[in-house]
């Protein structure tokens, strides 16, 4: 790939005269968007310092900052950077970076570089200019060759007559654009079409900075709503959002994994040949961070053996039960007292015994969450469902509103929180309206509508968005007085208290453009994914990508003979995507979208170099693996896989 630059140090003479009456200079260089892709450090910085030193100037310090134009981040970085006694700052970057510093700094800021009119835009087009953004695309009349860029005079009604041997009069190395256009039109048989075009007159009023600024401002508000970064993938919820919730038919065989949660897998407590009933405990928690597992069917245990696990990609111990179809309840399943009459410890015990874990996907044992060792101000109920396609949580809202509120009240009591906040994204207005009506007479519960943005459902983002608080590095929500819970989890808490029913089923969407008949189902844990898909009419064709979970954080399923688990909020069958990884062009979009304000492009580079220490120093462990960087990457680099590799290596180092 060709190297490119966006700025260039001003000439020696100009810099010398610029420095003439100045001293005590601080130098800031933008560390990005510069000449060589492989260069680590901005070389112009040293060059400028040398010139300044030759002029006998005191340099109070220098810094190289990534993406200086990123005001949000630059503001933070600059806070304590400029030493006392600095009289001026010289900035080496494009005009954006210089102005960002000039805006923030309290001392005069000077440009030590000129921005170059670099020729191109995003994606792969950085080294070749092909669009001038004239706001009145002429490609339709020119066979797809841009006359504004390709013709030196930007002529739009045909060639000027200056071409000699097919070359431009301005630059004999350059083909005459109109010659290219004419040839192409002729080849496509479109010459007549062109000749019949009315005379083209350019409208120069279309592009103005004001229009563009207005655009950008409106976009920026959406971009930064609530928290830094994030993305807006196409929601694609229309496949299943209007389809009402149904109970999925009883599975013939349930494969119940002993590892459906974060922490130690449960130990099976049944044997082949045992008869089990619905709600009967079949696996015992194997530690503090663990959870018991229950049978979702009544019938006979036909195997206790490792089975393919959907999200681990390997075999994990499971109890396989053949259903007798009778759905006989186990005697342990009986209603408890109301939460009002239970002590917090009793509620925690019920939750633990019911095997309830975070049902948003992570599977953290809920009973542990309910014992924070810090005072809790609020419980955040996460009903964002920010993953595209999925509509399971939406359905839970619509069908089980009362259970959600019951469960939330129980949680509030358990952790002695001041209030509960139900957070719903604005793409589910019916859920917002329903919940608002339901909480009308609860004075300690409120509903917050959040502007749809991914990954709003990530707990750190959610806390930032709703509470304006930042969970400290390596910390937990409880550190900022918050407990976050998914709404399905809260519904499960309600079931455990009111019905005495452990977590044996959940709501899941089966959806995507490649599913014949999408739907939302109450599915028993242990039901095979294949059964679900078959029930929905199967997939439309073989060219399909099937994932458990959403398209962003979901797991690719290569084998459909895997069971649904406590955290399986959906199965999606979507279009495949063929791409290949190409070199990073340092476009910096990953930095722009990373909600944890990290620099993912470095992780990709450092992981390739196996520089795990470097990754750790750049706080790779803060990464929540939301895949915003993967999603936005114009070079299609699987950044998160590289990050995961790095995280694993760092953990092994310890």
């Amino acid at each position: 790939m060709e190297n490119y630059t966006k700025y260039k140090l001003k000439g020696n003479d100009e810099l010398v005269s610029l420095l003439a009456d100045k001293d005590k200079v601080f130098v800031i260089a933008c560390n990005k968007c510069f000449k060589e892709f492989e260069t680590i450090d901005e070389p112009d910085c040293g060059e400028f310092e040398k010139i300044a030193a030759e002029q006998g100037k005191t340099i109070t310090g220098s810094a190289k900052v990534d993406f200086l134009c990123n005001k949000t981040q630059t503001e933070k970085k600059l806070q304590d950077m400029i030493p006392e006694g600095t009289e001026q700052i010289f900035v080496i970057s494009c005009g954006l970076g210089i102005q960002t510093v000039a805006d923030i700094a309290k001392v005069p800021v000077y440009a030590a570089s000129n921005s170059l009119n670099y020729t191109g835009h995003h994606g792969m087009a950085l080294t070749k200019k092909s669009c001038d953004a004239c706001a009145q695309c002429y490609l339709n009349i020119t066979g797809g060759v841009c006359p504004i860029v390709d013709c030196s005079k930007s002529l739009i009604n045909g060639q000027c007559g200056g071409a000699k041997n097919g070359k431009c009069e301005v630059d004999p190395d350059k083909d005459c654009a109109w010659e290219k256009i004419n040839k192409k039109l002729e080849k496509q048989g479109r010459t007549e079409e062109f000749l019949n075009q009315p005379v083209q007159v350019r409208d120069y009023s279309k592009v103005n900075f004001k229009v563009v600024n207005d655009y950008v401002k409106s976009i920026r508000e959406e971009r930064f709503a609530g928290y830094y970064g994030g993305v807006h993938p196409t929601e694609n919820k229309e496949f299943s959002e209007h389809i009402s919730l149904e109970r999925f038919p009883e599975p013939k065989v349930a494969v119940i994994s002993m590892s459906q949660h974060l922490g130690a897998p449960a130990n099976p407590i049944v044997q082949v040949g045992d008869t089990v009933k619905v709600g009967q405990k079949i696996g015992e928690a194997a530690g503090f961070i663990s959870a018991p597992v229950h049978s979702s069917v009544s019938g006979t245990v036909i195997a206790v053996e490792p089975r393919m696990h959907a999200t681990r990609g390997s075999e994990v111990m499971a109890v396989v039960i053949e259903s007798d179809g009778k759905n006989t309840l186990h005697e342990s399943v009986k209603p408890n007292k109301g939460y009002e009459d239970l002590t917090p410890d009793e509620i925690i015990e019920i939750v633990r015994e019911a095997g309830i874990v975070g049902m948003g996907g992570a599977g953290f044992p809920t009973s542990v969450k309910l014992k924070p060792n810090k005072p809790i101000e609020a419980i955040l109920l996460n009903g964002c469902e920010c993953e595209p396609y999925l509509t399971a949580d939406h359905k839970v809202f619509m069908e089980f509103a009362d259970d959600i509120i019951y469960g939330l009240k129980a949680m509030i009591k358990t952790v002695d929180a001041e209030k509960g906040i139900i957070v719903i994204e604005d793409n589910k207005p019916d859920a917002v309206a329903l919940m608002e009506a339901k909480i009308a007479d609860c004075d300690n519960i409120e509903v917050v509508t959040a502007k749809t943005k991914y990954p709003q459902g990530a707990e750190k983002m959610l806390i930032k968005r709703v509470m304006g608080r930042q969970v400290p590095r390596g910390g937990l929500p409880a550190d900022v007085g918050v407990v976050v819970s998914n709404i399905s989890t809260v519904k499960a808490i309600s079931d455990a208290i009111q019905k005495g029913m452990p977590l044996i089923e959940r709501v899941a969407s089966v959806t995507g453009e490649k599913i014949k008949n999408p739907g939302n189902y109450i599915v028993k844990i242990g039901t095979s994914v294949k059964e679900l898909i078959d029930y929905c009419g199967g997939v439309t064709d073989d060219d399909v990508l099937i994932k458990m979970g959403g398209p962003m954080m979901g797991f690719v399923l290569s084998d459909l003979n895997v069971p649904m688990m406590k955290g399986s909020n959906g199965i999606i069958a979507i279009n495949t995507d063929q791409t290949q990884e190409v070199a990073c062009i340092k476009c910096g979009r990953c930095v722009d979208v990373c909600p944890m304000e990290l620099t993912p492009l470095y992780f990709a580079k450092l992981a390739d170099e196996k520089d795990w220490v470097g990754m750790r120093d750049r706080n790779v462990l803060d990464c929540v693996e939301c895949r915003c960087c993967d999603y936005i990457c114009s070079s299609k680099i699987p950044i998160v896989s590289k990050i995961k590799a790095g995280k694993n290596a760092i953990r092994e180092m310890k």
Binding site: V201, R202, D203, Y204, S205, K206
Partner: protein, 292 residues
């Protein structure tokens, strides 16, 4: 006649402004100029004023000159790049036009061809600089001119009653530095502001002509207050205009006001520039009333 020489002689220079028509017939313009502008020293000819396409300033200047008037050729940077501007300047010199008023020009969006490409290759300051270069026998590209270089009175504009006087003074200083010989101001309705401005502008040592737009009506005053940069008609003046109800007296009050402003400011400036905006016929009365 080069009006710089008049200033140097200490004369109080009176100029007026005419706008070429949107068409090729300028009989009316010439007629009016010959009838009403005989009392003024020089006549500004606007250059596609307000970005509205009209007959050219240079051609009109030439016609007025042939009629025995002294034209001031207004030239803006909106419609021409540096090549066209320099070429037109040479044409003006060749036609014997000696006085210039050099401006940036309104934006193309303001006029009747909002889709046009706004040029602004140069601006008022660099245009003045360019004229000065031409006078030295070189063009902006550094090439030598053939023969006798042109010689002009290089005028520029300034807004003494603008919201930010400091910015105006700074810009004026840049124009002086670039080579401006004299200044015409935006319409003044607040003599006290003008006088204050002039106290500061004195340092540049360049003659300044007070800009006058006769306030024709309350409506016009309000319009200018709302839309015209650097112009503010005080409330008291609007009240005064309101009193001028009787049709037959229409305009008298406006002329009285204008004359009063001229008289008040005269000791502080070196000339007056009248923008009659269609009321050219009232100029003789105004000058009489202002005792010029």
């Amino acid at each position: 006649m080069n009006i710089s020489e008049l200033f140097q002689r200490g004369e109080f220079v009176v100029s007026a402004e005419v706008g070429p028509p949107k068409g090729t017939n300028i009989d009316h313009l010439v007629e009016e100029a010959k009838t009403y502008l005989t009392g003024v020293t020089a006549v500004n000819v606007t250059d596609n004023q307000s970005s509205v396409m009209r007959l050219g300033s240079l051609a009109t200047c030439k016609v007025l000159k042939d009629e025995g008037l002294t034209p001031i050729y207004q030239l803006t940077c909106r419609d021409r790049n540096r090549i066209a501007l320099q070429s037109d300047l040479l044409s003006a010199a060749m036609l014997g036009i000696e006085n210039l008023l050099l401006l940036t020009g309104d934006h193309t969006k303001m006029g009747d061809h909002p889709q046009a490409k706004p040029v602004f290759d140069l601006d008022s300051v660099s245009l003045i600089h360019t004229v000065k270069l031409l006078e030295s026998g070189r063009d902006l590209g550094g090439n030598e001119l053939v023969g006798e270089p042109p010689k002009f009175a290089k005028g520029a504009v300034v807004s003494p009653c603008s919201d930010s006087v400091d910015a105006q003074l700074a810009k004026m200083e840049r124009k002086v530095m670039a080579g401006a010989d004299y200044f015409q101001t935006q319409a003044v309705y607040e003599p006290e502001k003008f006088i204050k401005f002039m106290e500061k502008a004195k340092q540049f040592g360049k003659p300044v002509q007070l800009g006058i737009v006769i306030p024709k009506s309350v409506g016009m005053a309000r319009f200018m207050n709302a839309n015209v940069a650097g112009v503010h008609v005080p409330d008291s003046m609007i009240e005064e205009l309101k009193a001028d109800k009787e049709k037959t007296k229409a305009g008298i009050t406006g002329i009285e006001i204008a004359a009063r402003i001229i008289k008040e400011c005269k000791p502080y400036c070196q000339g007056v520039h009248i923008m009659a905006l269609g009321w050219e016929s009232k100029i003789p009365d105004l000058l009489k009333l202002a005792e010029i």
